[in-house]
Subunit: 318 residues, 2 copies
């Protein structure tokens, strides 16, 4: 199978929503009149973002999911994406399920594959995704204000727990392993929640590198600090409390990464609107703390006493 | 140096033309009212698209140049790009010149770096570039018509000759090697020519995989054939005729690849407009053949007699 046959067989579908898709030097996209274009890009490398043994269908899903999650974090409506793929060889047994998982998620979100590039090389998957948002309505990291509540969607830490089970540092029952593994391998981008939070949230980010570190990005860019209530945190994990020691649980929730939930802030007066957005987004949201004027991240227990911590964001080069 | 410091030090600059650049989940771009968005994406892998020994500054230039060349081929005005980078390590001695070469070319074209991703992994450079074009004015591969003239800009085959010199299959004098090496390592995207060809060319593509193969894409998508005049072809190479045997020369011109010149078609009545576009684009264009109704690519000598050939497009998986 040659390069062009590979593209035709697995990735070329008729352009639907957009004027020109796969098969020319550029793809052409039409935005709705007056909309801003939003762009995000993620590169996935074997051994760092996924295990060599992962089901290619799930990898196809995740490759787009992590990008849609970035759009969700900005309250952006997905439009289209391009895929660049370096492959050690053109292997039908990998390409068929990979493209199936990728395009199934794309179809769920009406997000069309419009172009890309294919080359031989160490396995590398790079997706760039495009969306549209009315000017001034994108959710940014820089909008958090003193007194805002801090919320997170869904559950946190289970993806990291699955990774630790793969690494052999924790042992999980079959049922718990299956559930946490699904969180690691097929995350759900919170696109509907992100759209519903336009005009409600003051700042937002998706939790990809870990709650503490990603909250740190909001704090840095908003020039504020935050207080997180540690008693609320272990309950964020879906895995049963007996499955993993308390300390490990807290670490997974605060610094696990790969969660692809939305972490956002909103003024207390928006509490009702946040609940409505959660209902519209089809996912629970939990209030976990409050924005404060004093810079830095403070984690406190139920009595307001500081809990020492050393949680930071995942860093590919640290 | 950590991931975020790396981004801050080498790639983050204040957003100028666009509302939001590096440092949030998405970048935000404003298109001029009524314009279509054009997108292209190229992934460069060590050992396939560049040699491990290449000057990182030139590699930075080339990483964006090959993408701008795709915009040029569609007659699109560059706006912005995102960069995804997998690096074996965070190395200042590589990142500083790489980012300098990349951003120097970006500045030349007013094409702003607005986002991207950085990870550890085998060296892989993936650029996705965005531009704008008035609806219906993009140059496509599918517009060639019987009787159109076929043109190519600049010179062809010298990049391939340099590659062969690196591989040791040809020997070049120092001066010829330097000139051909510049064509391989720092190609010039024909952006101004592409813009000037809007409304003039009937079809266009950039020559990245080889003249014969890339012309084949125009023929396939336009459902036509072509006749190329072989006597015109060897003269397209800049390297002096004594530097390389005739057969090798023809092969470099027809199937060399990595040229990043524009190959386009235009009705004979547009000959004057093509000359004006070439002047506006600051590059010579040469008429090399004619589109015919009969499918297939025929290469003929000065007497119209067919020359057997076996030239096809470069294929990463063939």
């Amino acid at each position: 199978m040659g390069e062009f046959e590979l593209i035709d067989r697995y990735f070329k579908r008729p352009a639907r929503r957009h004027p020109l898709g796969v098969g020319d030097d550029c793809a052409l996209l039409g935005l709705a009149p007056g909309m801003q274009l939003a762009v995000s890009c993620d590169m996935l490398v074997e051994g760092r973002h996924f295990l060599a043994t992962v089901d290619p269908r799930k990898l196809g899903h995740k490759s787009l999911a992590v990008n849609l999650s970035d759009l969700a974090a900005c309250g952006v409506e997905p439009l289209a994406f391009v895929l660049a793929l370096a492959l050690p060889q053109a292997d039908d047994a990998w390409l068929e399920p990979f493209s199936r998982g990728l395009l199934a998620l794309a179809d769920q979100h009406g997000c069309e594959l419009v172009g890309g590039d294919t080359t031989r090389g160490p396995l590398n998957i790079c997706v760039t995704v495009f969306g549209q948002v009315p000017p001034g309505q994108a959710l940014l990291r820089s909008g958090a204000r003193e007194g805002d509540d801090i919320y997170v969607s869904g559950t946190l830490g289970d993806a990291r727990l699955a990774l630790e089970a793969f690494r052999g540092t924790v042992s999980l029952s079959g049922e718990v392993f299956d559930a946490t593994r699904a969180r690691l391998e097929t995350p759900t981008p919170r696109v509907a929640l992100g759209l519903a939070l336009r005009g409600v949230a003051s700042a937002a980010i998706d939790v990809s590198d870990g709650l503490a570190g990603d909250l740190g990005h909001i704090l840095d860019q908003s020039r504020v600090g935050a207080r997180l209530e540690v008693d609320l945190l272990p309950g964020l994990m879906a895995a049963p409390t007996g499955a993993v020691p308390h300390e490990r649980r807290l670490e997974c929730v605060l610094a696990g990464g790969d969660d692809y939930e939305l972490l956002f802030t909103a003024a207390p007066a928006q509490a009702g609107a946040v609940a409505a957005a959660a209902a519209a987004g089809g996912v629970a949201v939990t209030r976990i703390g409050r924005i404060e004027a004093e810079p830095g991240l403070r984690i406190v227990d139920g009595g307001g006493r500081p809990v020492p911590h050393r949680y930071a964001s995942f860093d590919h080069f640290a």
